[in-house]
Symmetry: C2
Amino acid sequence: MLRAASRVPDHGTRVPFRFLRIAGEARAALGEVLASRKREIDPDVPDAVLDKERLRFSHAPVIVAVVAQQGYDAKIPASERFSTASCVCFALLQAAQAAGFGAQWLTGWAAYDPVVRERLGIGQDEAIVGFIHVGTALTEAPERERPDATALLSDWQA
Amino acid sequence: MLRAASRVPDHGTRVPFRFLRIAGEARAALGEVLASRKREIDPDVPDAVLDKERLRFSHAPVIVAVVAQQGYDAKIPASERFSTASCVCFALLQAAQAAGFGAQWLTGWAAYDPVVRERLGIGQDEAIVGFIHVGTALTEAPERERPDATALLSDWQA
């Protein structure tokens, strides 16, 4: 799956991404990090919120964080490397689903919080583009309304 | 193809993208915009460079610019909307190839230049994520070396 997810457009072939797997006991441990950080931010946070944070990474057996390299590059803008890592997330979803798993791309506050980022070992020049949760689907994901592509299209005229 | 390309992960269902088609005579007209802007930036630019700019949008019969909405949003970060638009580019490549066309994602300086952006009608709160060139492939795209996904993987430990 990771091999399929690594086949993405990549301007300048920088391979500007890496995978951080969160599995087994690390899932609950990361939940504790989140809950304790939430309490640090807001000492009055309700217990129900803390419980939700504790379980955030325990719904699927494995979660893969896709991390983008966003440091200085003389030729390739950070945004293009962010695009590459975004495509990795999308391709990983597709690969997981093709293999018969359910998969969901979640980002959420933990991806942006400096304390959580540090605990995850994310560098100053890196960004978490998504957490891809992979497991066995218990229900079929409901189809949602899709945009009308025609309405999104216009023609450029000089 | 645009309908397939619009089926992407989209946090908050913002549909934070639109398509700008550049086809027919608009392609050469956009080439003229690029060449004249290049000369404005550097009056000593070689003719060969100008010729290259003039033809930049004339290699394929149709080019679709994918434009991301990056304006203020109280809940969904601009980076997540950029990810969605990046997925649109990737899905459009896949849809074009599935339909038997050749397709290439190019971004390049024109996507970032304020004068070109204005001529294309790109708003201050929008970003061009890619120009997807679609046509008939004249040669088979050579396979390039792909990253070793295993080497990109690490396990998080608390």
